[in-house]
């Protein structure tokens, strides 16, 4: 059992790159449509909520609401693009399109495929996060350099949510189940984790719970970076928490996917 589980793991440090490049080639063929689709939603949110609510809310945590929100939107868009890429596109490659089946007949392992998919989804997060950051910087709500500082966390956030979504697709019988994950887990996280509302506004019992959620860790890293605030000691804690959120589901989903794909 242990030995055969080990045989599922990435075979080496670079096999996954072939999977990433396969997805990149497919993406390049539809890049424009996919870019617009990825970016329209968070940018609309940024403007709609930012200007609209900004009028009512005024200043939040010592900054304008739209600057506060911009950091939340970068984190949220990293979360949603990695999630959607994994739930829908990777699921299609696993299920209907039989792409994974084809790859599994080569020298790649299931772990190589999962890793390639996770890094790919994280790459799309970086793209989405960077685009919103660029809009925010162009409008003067963040500095250009601060956007660059935020990118490692954006990438890590992408890995985390791709990894969690991988567990979802390893269990879901069909597309129909994904909506539960989105509405029951992801959407509440946006509101609980300080992406659009400061966490200090939540009842204190919620704050403790919400502080453990992955999106909270990533907001807590991205916002100080974008607002150019000093790095606190808790940054190390947030980074380690995100790493756990990326790594543990990776192992879990690989084991679950074996049950699903390799009987």
């Amino acid at each position: 059992m242990g030995e055969s589980y080990a045989a599922l793991m990435p075979a080496n440090a670079y096999n996954w790159i072939a999977v990433w490049r396969r997805n990149f080639l497919a993406w390049r063929k539809a890049a424009l449509a996919s870019l617009l689709g990825n970016l329209a939603d968070p940018i609309t949110n940024l403007f709609g909520l930012g200007f609209g609510l900004g009028l009512i809310v005024g200043r939040v945590e010592g900054t304008s609401y739209i600057a506060f929100l911009a950091a939340g939107m970068v984190a949220t868009s990293a979360m949603t693009s990695a999630t959607f890429e994994t739930l829908y596109a990777a699921f299609a490659r696993m299920d209907a399109n039989r792409t994974w089946e084809a790859i599994l007949s080569t020298q790649l392992t299931l772990g190589d495929i999962v890793l390639g998919e996770l890094v790919w989804a994280a790459s799309k997060s970086v793209l989405a996060g960077a685009a919103i950051g660029i809009v925010a910087a162009a409008l003067g709500y963040a500095s250009w350099l601060s956007i660059l500082y935020a990118m490692p966390t954006v990438a890590l956030t992408g890995l985390v949510f791709a990894s969690l979504a991988m567990v979802v697709i390893s269990l879901a019988p069909s597309y129909d189940y994904f909506v539960f994950y989105q509405t029951l887990i992801l959407t509440p996280m946006v509101f609980l984790c300080g992406a659009v509302i400061p966490m200090s506004q939540l009842p204190s019992s919620f704050q403790h719970f919400a502080g453990l959620l992955p999106l909270a860790h990533s907001v807590d890293l991205i916002r100080p970076a974008m607002l150019e605030r000093a790095v606190s000691v808790s940054a190390a804690f947030h980074v380690s928490a995100l790493c756990m959120y990326a790594i543990l589901p990776f192992f879990a989903s690989t084991a679950l996917l074996r049950r699903r794909l390799l009987r």
Binding site: A7, V19, R21, R22, E101, A102, Q107, L261, L262, R263
Partner: protein
């Protein structure tokens, strides 16, 4: 046959899904350079066996070794030298023919230069030179199958595992694939193929194994199986009451089968049978040498009566 000379070796392999036994105590061995066929009706377990050879399904019991690697434990290492044609095409439909080969070559860790070097020969082999930059979605079924075959060859495999390589193709496309496979055998590749076309098995396979419900019911060279299980001429008779006819010619036949409206009469001396039928109106009689189809019908007992 010792382990090191065999390309594939199965011993006592069993597999069930739930309480349904899919592969039952199966053993066979395929020598290097040989073309080995797995024959059987739908659901006999052919695809399950093919996937087991690749490590994509683990047996419940028994031993599998492929290219001297224990499977599934070291299936990944074995797959470096295996080419796979799956039952259902899993090509990248939105990619071009060339891109499909490129992407697949990368899975084997090949550099772009190395892939570019082998692609022209593969396209030529698959007779797809003119389709190089066409999207796969626009190819016919036969072309897709040939591309799948070309893709399976990108890593210059020693062994090809092909699950129904010609199902769903028209006769012309099928003959083209057969001809290509014969070229591969001449080049010394080992082929394991599954099929339910007896003609395919008879033309291509050095040896074959007939399966029913996951159990091996016969194994051997096609000609030997035909000799052993039939070993005489076949007269097909259409257009009469099969039961009445079988009473009439029974004494002169070695064996009689009725399948639908057709009566198959296996007789050492067909003239004796024909004499009995002489003068009967409305009968169509076809005399032919026996083939694997007859063996299959005989062994699987499907639609058989006597």
């Amino acid at each position: 046959m010792n382990m090191s000379s065999a390309a594939i070796d199965l011993a006592g392999v069993r597999k069930s899904f739930g309480d349904k036994i899919i592969v039952d105590e199966l053993s066979f061995s395929v020598a290097r350079g040989e073309c080995f066929g797995l024959l059987g009706p739908n659901g006999a377990g052919k695809s399950t066996i093919a996937r087991m050879l690749l490590g994509m399904i683990s047996p419940d019991a028994g031993k599998i070794s492929v290219l001297n690697e224990p499977v599934p434990a070291r299936a990944r290492v074995a797959r470096v030298r295996i080419g796979v044609v799956p039952q259902f095409d899993n090509l990248e439909l939105q990619f071009t023919v060339r891109e499909n080969l490129l992407v697949f070559g990368r899975y084997f860790g090949m550099s772009a230069r190395k892939i570019d070097a082998v692609v022209p020969a593969l396209l030529e082999f698959a007779r797809l030179e003119s389709k190089k930059d066409v999207r796969v979605a626009e190819l016919s079924g036969g072309m897709k199958r040939r591309l799948t075959l070309a893709r399976a060859l990108i890593n210059d495999p020693h062994l090809l595992v092909m699950d129904e390589p010609t199902t769903g193709l028209d006769p012309h496309a099928r003959h083209l694939i057969w001809e290509r496979l014969r070229v591969l055998l001449v080049r010394g590749k080992t082929i394991l193929l599954t099929t339910h076309f007896m003609e395919e098995a008879e033309r291509l396979c050095d040896r074959l194994c007939v399966l029913e419900s996951g159990r091996k019911i016969a194994e051997g060279k096609p000609a030997a199986l035909i000799d052993e299980h039939i070993g005489c001429n076949v007269i097909e008779i259409y257009g009469g009451d099969p039961h009445e006819l079988s009473e009439l010619i029974g004494p002169y036949a070695r064996h009689i089968e009725v399948s639908g409206e057709t009566l198959f009469c296996y007789a050492l001396n067909p003239e004796q049978v024909r004499v009995q039928l002489r003068g009967r109106a409305g009968l169509r009689i076809l005399q032919r040498p026996p083939n694997l189809e007859d063996v299959f019908l005989r062994l699987t007992g499907r639609e058989m009566e006597k």
